[in-house]
């Protein structure tokens, strides 16, 4: 079923929309949740909560890309549950992937940049990148996907993804240094 048809079902408050969402995007959302959380049951609950949040959000919202919309909700829900895993001293796939990014960035100085300033900086930085490189970068470090998964999903070679990630990491480090961002 096409996205627009599922959105129409949601606008009509037809409960079959949930089944259609689960059929079309269930596996993707489950994978997103699994990369952030260890526990399979937690992941499943995140995905189920995703359908509830989507049901509550549409209408009034009418997302241009339903897959991105539900995937982003799953990710945010999973992150909200991450605290428990962190207390268990176990790193998720997403956290392990973040190491790769974090270790290539400048160390925080004595004065740490406030959250709002950092958000503004990162937003400007990401929007300056090409859509293609931004897609690889966010899939890798904000969704925890492997290079191979990104390459397969985007229809490009792994070397191209690795190269783009390397360059974007370097650009981010350089931009942080130039603007004096310490986090």
């Amino acid at each position: 079923m096409k996205d627009i048809q599922i959105i129409e079902l949601l606008f009509r408050r037809a409960e079959e929309a949930i089944a259609c969402l689960a059929e079309k995007y269930g596996a993707m959302c489950q994978a997103i949740a699994r990369r952030i959380l260890w526990d399979e049951r937690d992941s499943e609950e995140c995905v189920n909560d995703t359908w509830v949040q989507t049901w509550n959000a549409i209408p009034p919202q009418r997302p241009a890309y339903l897959g991105g919309f539900v995937g982003r909700i799953t990710r945010n829900l999973a992150l909200d549950r991450l605290d428990y895993n962190h207390a268990q001293k176990r790193d998720s796939t997403l956290q392990e992937t973040f190491w790769e990014l974090s270790s290539s960035l400048p160390d925080p100085g004595d004065t740490v940049t406030d959250e709002m300033t950092f958000r503004d900086f990162l937003d400007r930085f990401l929007r300056r990148q090409s859509e293609e490189h931004r897609r690889y970068f966010l899939r890798r470090y904000w969704y925890g996907m492997s290079v191979r998964e990104i390459a397969q999903a985007c229809g490009v070679g792994e070397e191209k993804v690795k190269s783009a990630l390397f360059r974007t990491r370097n650009k981010l480090r350089q931009a942080m240094e130039e603007e004096g961002i310490h986090v």
Partner: protein, 314 residues
């Protein structure tokens, strides 16, 4: 992960806007198609071989010039408006055995590209190479049309009679709509569902209170009528009036156009307006007249004009 690194992790994870996070999961169609092609090596070889044969059959190489007769050989007759210049025809290979027919022509100092492709399902025959900022859907003569635009380019697409049509240009959306209307006229249709007897029909597209508005004006029995459509994400019951007509009206009431809630305001035998809202596609409508207004007249004309974007009978 130490507390310090975990804090940094959370800071990064929560610092990206939702639109970017959603965009990251979108896969351009052309990339998906490319990957599928790579995955099926045998199929790929067939495609390459087929493409080579195809190029030899299509007279689209530089040494050959595509003519109307060439297009007709593939069953195409492109509706070119009478007042255009420098028409260049072409045949482009497609995903199917049927090529895409193309005509490029100049009009009003702009280049217009018209494409047609015989296909059972609606397709994006220009590919996903443009980042559109605005989109408007409407229904005309039983055909669903879509206008997409950004600061540089506008494109109107529709699928009818098992043919996908798309017209793209760097002209303004308003000028493109008028060009598409002329193309529609050649096809024997109207761009909007204007009532019988309507004359002096013109099209426009513009922004009003951050809404992308499509407008049709026409004269009917000496009365100037303005019909507007605008997509919106706001589904609140107090929907916006996009008529742009303000002033004191002697009468105000509420009614329905099809299944849509509507608000009317008019002065007897003078100016009047009706605004209605279809929540399912999220589309605002308005109709205003400069003379001869009445409740019955406004409702009757609104019901004649209203063709839901989702293609259902009102």
């Amino acid at each position: 992960m130490s507390e310090r690194v975990y804090a940094r992790f959370l800071l990064f994870m929560n610092a990206v806007d939702d639109d970017l996070l959603e965009e990251a999961l979108v896969i351009p169609k052309r990339l998906k198609a490319y990957w599928k092609g790579l995955a099926a090596v045998a199929a790929c070889l067939c495609v390459v071989l087929g493409a080579m044969l195809w190029q030899s059959r299509i007279p689209g190489t530089p040494e050959n010039i595509i003519t109307v007769e060439d297009l007709a050989g593939y069953g195409y007759k492109l509706p070119i408006p009478a007042d255009v210049q420098n028409v260049i025809y072409d045949l482009l290979s497609s995903q199917s055995e049927t090529p895409i027919a193309q005509a490029k022509f100049d009009r009003g100092g702009h280049t217009v590209t018209l494409r047609a492709w015989r296909t059972e399902e609606p397709q994006d025959i220009f590919g996903g190479d443009e980042a559109w900022t605005d989109q408007m859907d409407w229904n005309a003569d039983g055909t669903a049309l879509t206008l997409r635009s950004n600061a540089q380019t506008a494109q109107v697409s529709w699928h009818a009679d098992q043919t996908q049509w798309s017209v793209r240009s760097d002209m303004t959306p308003a000028d493109l709509l008028n060009t598409v209307n002329d193309i529609f006229s050649v096809l024997g249709h109207q761009l909007t569902h204007a009532p019988e007897g309507a004359q002096d029909i013109h099209y426009n597209a513009f922004y009003l209170d951050e809404l992308a508005v499509g407008e049709t004006t026409f004269t009917l029995d000496g009365v100037t009528c303005t019909y507007r459509i605008a997509p919106t994400y706001d589904t609140s019951a107090d929907f916006a009036d996009i008529s742009g007509v303000e002033g004191d009206f002697a009468h105000r009431t509420e009614a329905e156009v099809g299944w849509c809630p509507a608000r009317l305001a008019w002065n007897d035998d003078s100016a009047g307006k009706i605004a209605w809202f279809d929540v399912v596609p999220g589309q605002l409508y308005s109709l205003s007249v400069d003379a001869g207004a009445s409740q019955e007249g406004l409702l009757d004309l609104a019901n004649q004009l209203f063709l839901p974007a989702q293609g259902e009978e009102p």
